[in-house]
């Protein structure tokens, strides 16, 4: 009996360990080939690429506001199209905070990787809930400034203020520093596709029941662009003040 008592604990421990180990289908420490180090230019997983190179500005969580446009908006995808997104990803947007992606253009990505990112963005974007027949073209010339002021007043002033310098719901859209950092195309994209993550409606929903026409979009962008001027140099102001 005493002999049995001596052995019962080790035997039970062994049985319990074996039972627990039987539940393992993988040894945690065994390295798997897919976990092996890859050169940055050899990574082909969309999620890894997007997380490493895009998420900083375009965010990972599509349900929350991002500093730059969320890249899973159906209307934006329909408006810009794969080709434009590919071109922007490859070349960046000079003069703005969107850097070039391609290694040849100063970025860190190969052509294949850029393709994977763009395809991934397209694939994960949900389809439009309803077909948009009156979608303006992605690229267009600037319209008429004076008419643009009127269109702005009608569609945008409710949030951005009558003169665009900020209103009850949104800040200034005519600040020279802001305009210095965005392109006309970016203004056009924002007017058409809105920024749903920030609460800005698209061109169909600025005013209930009214859809902005192609001309009105062009005119608003022209009026906004007309506010471009050399922005103040804050450092200069600082120096003067210090003097």
């Amino acid at each position: 009996m005493t002999e049995l008592k001596r052995w019962i604990f080790p035997v039970l421990a062994l049985a319990l360990s074996s039972f627990l180990l039987a539940g393992c289908d993988k040894i945690p420490g065994k390295p798997e080939p897919e976990e092996a180090y890859q050169r940055p230019t050899e990574v082909t997983d969309f999620n890894v690429l997007y997380t490493t190179y895009c998420a900083g500005c375009h965010s990972l969580d599509a349900s929350k506001p991002a500093a730059a446009r969320q890249l899973n908006e159906a209307l934006y995808l329909a408006f810009a199209g794969r080709e434009a997104i590919l071109q922007i990803t490859e070349d960046g947007v000079p003069g703005t905070t969107m850097p070039a992606g391609l290694i040849d253009k100063g970025g860190k990505l190969t052509e294949e990787q850029v393709g994977i990112i763009v395809d991934g963005i397209v694939e994960r974007t949900p389809p439009l809930s309803q077909e948009v027949t009156d979608l303006p073209p992605y690229r267009a010339e600037l319209g008429r400034i004076e008419e643009g002021r009127e269109a702005f007043s009608r569609y945008c002033a409710g949030c951005h203020g009558e003169d665009g310098s900020g209103g009850p719901k949104a800040g200034s859209i005519v600040d020279p520093a802001y305009l210095e950092l965005v392109t006309n195309q970016s203004l056009r994209t924002t007017v058409v596709a809105g920024r749903t993550d920030l609460g800005m409606p698209d061109f169909r929903n600025m005013v209930p029941g009214e859809v902005m026409s192609d001309e009105e979009v062009e005119d608003v962008v022209a009026w906004l662009a007309s506010h471009r001027e050399e922005p103040d140099n804050p450092a200069q102001g600082n120096e003067e003040r210090n003097d």
């Binding site: 390295p31 180090y37 998420a55």
Partner: protein, 494 residues
């Protein structure tokens, strides 16, 4: 049959004197107080050395010590050779346990005052064995031939290059040329596989011989100081009257502890696996975050944190002085009390050293001074810092990412820690101060004035000025009060 086997065994024993050797070594007498759990670390270190030798020989059958093949042969071991990963894991974790248990052994020897008369040379040989073991760990890291190995070696030889007069020649000699290349790997392979293990085995023999001839230190008792004229007699008496024998009286604890150590090594291999190889050793890959293995993390931290003017003195004289003090310890603290409670200077010194090493190791592991090189493109601006911002402020958030401010400044705890976190920067800095900081930099922060446009400065400052405690106004310069049409007391006076 049994009788024949017994006769063969006896014949062999008579010829080889095996039982006499066993009696003279494992059967040596020890003080009864030494047959305790505090005395198991030395044998466990030796066990780890055995693991390293066996697994090292097996690894050498596959490993290719050439710059072109080394990395690929480790991949082969990890992913193709059956149980190759296990072998690598045993060698890696065996090394970790060897260093850790060796340091425990050394600490125990220090705390028990075992380095005192007449065991000075046991201590000195142990210290040299400790340094050689660290040398094995460092050269073993080079064998991984990955980014950690490449940059670790680069830093090591750069330090060597600071030696006056012969520094460049020493560096050239160690690397086998002017750059880290195939010759460097060959030399470190030779050091790791032949030279250092050879010296370790020779010194270990001496260490063990001294343990046998000078005996295992007794557990110290307060009020029984070591005296040169009487200690050896007292020790003899302790061993022969009421003493014990290592085998079979004390060896049980060593065997049990050895078994536990082996089990822990295997468990670590199964749970965590072998280390690396990490990124390929290509200096053109700048997205690396190399750091040494844990025994050297404290040194990595010290080297990173010390001011530049101290570097040469600390890097060259520091190790010499530190090692000199440790080696000389039994010569200037040769006799007297062994009990740690009666050696306050030693005890406090040990605590200081352990706490300092632990703190620096933690700093080395986290290296808050290193920028997070991918943070700018991979860590989104926290959404609560985006919500409700103006278009200019949003552009500022983008400039903050684009100019890689995030690599050094964390938001919401994510990002680099080289600079201060900026979650509440507007509580403490006015817009003018922010502009000055961005344009002119200060302290560790470079001046961005030449690399940022006025519009970008305005945008990023506008964004940063929104980062303040909720319900509290952001900091404003007092000068702005003069411009306030509503007037302030100061403005009113004017």
């Amino acid at each position: 049959m049994t009788k024949q086997l017994r006769n063969i065994a006896l014949w062999l024993d008579r010829r080889l004197h095996l039982s006499q050797i066993w009696e003279a070594t494992a059967g040596h007498g020890i003080p009864k107080s030494s047959a305790s759990w505090f005395y198991v670390f030395g044998s466990a270190t030796m066990l780890c050395l055995g693991v390293q030798i066996v697994t090292g020989i097996c690894l050498a059958l596959i490993y290719q010590p050439s710059a072109q093949e080394a990395y690929a042969s480790l991949h082969y071991l990890n992913y193709e050779q059956p149980l190759g990963w296990f072998l690598r894991g045993m060698h890696y974790w065996g090394s970790n346990f060897m260093v850790a248990i060796m340091l425990m052994h050394m600490t125990q020897v220090f705390v028990f005052g075992a380095y005192k008369y007449p065991r000075e040379l046991t201590w000195v040989s142990g210290v040299i064995l400790c340094l050689l073991t660290l040398g094995m760990a460092f050269t073993g890291q080079v064998m991984r031939w990955d980014q950690d190995a490449y940059w670790g070696l680069g830093i090591g030889v750069s330090m060597l290059g600071r030696v006056p007069f012969i520094g460049p020649e020493l560096t050239h000699f160690l690397m086998g040329g002017p750059i880290i290349a195939g010759n460097s790997l060959s030399r470190f392979f030779t050091l790791h596989v032949f030279i250092i293990p050879g010296i370790v085995l020779a010194l270990l023999s001496m260490h063990l011989r001294l343990v046998l001839s000078k005996g295992i230190n007794e557990a110290p008792t307060a009020g029984k100081p070591v005296r040169r004229d009487s200690y050896e007699e007292e020790y003899e008496e302790m061993v022969h009257r009421g003493g014990a024998r290592f085998a079979p009286d004390a060896i049980g604890k060593d065997l049990i502890f050895g078994g536990i150590v082996l089990g822990l090594i295997v468990a670590c291999v199964l749970l965590f696996g072998p280390k690396g190889p990490e990124g390929i050793p290509d200096p053109t890959l700048i997205n690396t975050n190399p750091r040494p293995d844990w025994p050297f993390l404290w040194f990595f931290a010290v080297a990173s944190l010390m001011p530049p003017y101290m570097e040469s003195v600390v890097l060259l004289l520091g190790p010499v002085v530190a090692i000199g003090i440790v080696i000389a310890l039994p010569f200037f603290d040769n006799t007297g009390e062994k009990k740690w409670t009666l050696r306050p200077v030693s005890t406090v010194s040990l605590i200081l050293v352990v706490v300092s090493l632990a703190a620096f190791t933690w700093y080395g592991a986290t290296s808050p001074w290193s920028p997070e090189m991918d943070a700018w493109s991979s860590e989104p601006t926290p959404s609560h810092m985006i919500d409700g911002r103006t278009p200019l402020e949003l552009q500022g958030a983008l400039v903050f990412q684009y100019k890689q401010c995030r690599n050094c400044h964390a938001l919401d705890g994510i990002g680099g820690q080289r600079g201060p976190a900026l979650d509440l920067v507007a509580d403490r800095m006015t817009p003018d101060q922010l502009v000055r900081q961005v344009v002119q930099g200060s302290g560790n922060m470079p001046a961005y004035g030449q690399n940022i446009s006025p519009a970008e400065v305005k945008a990023v400052v506008a964004f940063l000025h929104t980062l303040h405690t909720e319900g509290r106004l952001p900091a404003q310069t007092a000068l702005n009060l003069h411009e306030d049409p509503e007037g302030s007391p100061a403005g009113g006076d004017e």
